[in-house]
């Protein structure tokens, strides 16, 4: 737990893939360069967080929201990120909405299924427990970062 914030790295495999896809085919990257970029990405997140937090505090809010992050991008002179970020946010919101509706639908379907199965099988499904656990995990996901 005594790690410095900059030591919290993002997974190497993902960083490498992002780099490779951004560059033309046949271009390689040395381990040192890859590791430096990974570190830079962590520093970027920390700096952006700090910037975004300033906006939140200015707005007398305790919770960082997407708007704060977008304002931070502007402040950090990464305006070119703002448009793709807004698109990603829209897609993310749609996906979240879809997830919610899908899991509600799943529950409805499951209830229908269980009603008809009740007559045949005995209740030894541990599928139900798995679903419940998954739903609990989903709820955890929605919890906000708490210091």
């Amino acid at each position: 737990m005594a790690e410095r914030p900059e030591d919290l790295n993002l997974p190497n495999a993902v960083i490498t893939r992002i780099i490779k896809e951004a560059l033309p085919d046949g271009v390689n990257i040395s381990k040192e360069a890859r590791s430096a970029i990974s570190r830079a990405a962590s520093v970027f997140v920390l700096y952006a967080t700090s910037c975004a937090n300033n906006f939140a505090m200015k707005g007398k809010r305790k919770t960082l929201n997407a708007g704060d992050v977008l304002s931070a991008m502007e402040e950090m002179e990464f305006q070119r990120f703002i448009s793709p970020l807004k698109e990603a946010l829209d897609a993310y919101r749609r996906e979240q909405k879809g997830k919610k509706e899908a899991s509600e639908q799943k529950k409805k379907d499951k209830d229908k299924r269980t009603d008809s199965e009740e007559q045949d099988k005995s209740r030894e499904d541990d599928n139900d427990e798995d679903d419940e656990r998954m739903e609990e995990e989903e709820q955890n996901e929605e919890e906000e970062v708490d210091n």
Binding site: E6, L8, N9, L10, P11, A13, V14, R17, I18, I19, A22, V27, N28, I29, S30, E32, A33, A36, I37, A40, S42, V43, F44, V45, L46, A48, T49, S50, A52, N53, T63, L64, N65, A66, M73, M76, E77, F78, F81, P84, L85, E87, A88, L89, A91, Y92, E95, G98, A102, S103, Q105, K106, M134, E137, E141, E142, E144, V145, D146, N147
Partner: protein, 125 residues
């Protein structure tokens, strides 16, 4: 449409769970190809970086009280864009040296040359 959404539900939380559990987040993101892509109309890829790791970075800031899930997501996506940007700028330097392998010095040059990267000076050592 429903099938794709269901697929997203199955893969999404599972990937997040795996990312939460271990530091070896390499398997999880690699195993989760973007199923969201076909669902939206040629929409942007949602972030590949595990949100749990990004959340850990955000939590590291003592001044931050709470951060919404959307904020975490946008930060993850922004970090991705940042990696792409800095990789390309560093590659530009490598090309000048007629090399096809990006090296650490290319990165240092890019940081020095590009104003937006000024915040990185002194942080990578």
């Amino acid at each position: 449409m429903a099938a794709a959404a269901t697929a997203a539900v199955t893969i999404g939380p599972t990937a997040a769970l795996v990312a939460e559990e271990g530091p070896s987040g390499e398997a999880a993101p690699a195993a989760a190809p973007p199923p969201q892509a076909p669902a939206a109309s040629a929409g942007p890829r949602l972030s590949r970086l595990p949100l749990a790791r990004v959340k850990a970075l955000v939590k590291a800031d003592p001044d931050v009280t709470l951060a919404g899930q959307e904020a975490i997501f946008i930060l993850a996506r922004a970090a991705e864009l940042f990696v792409e940007t800095i990789a390309r700028d560093a590659y530009f330097c490598a090309q000048q040296g007629k090399r096809k392998t990006l090296q650490r010095k290319d990165l240092d040059n890019a940081i020095e040359a590009v104003d937006e990267f000024a915040f990185l000076e002194g942080t990578l050592d």
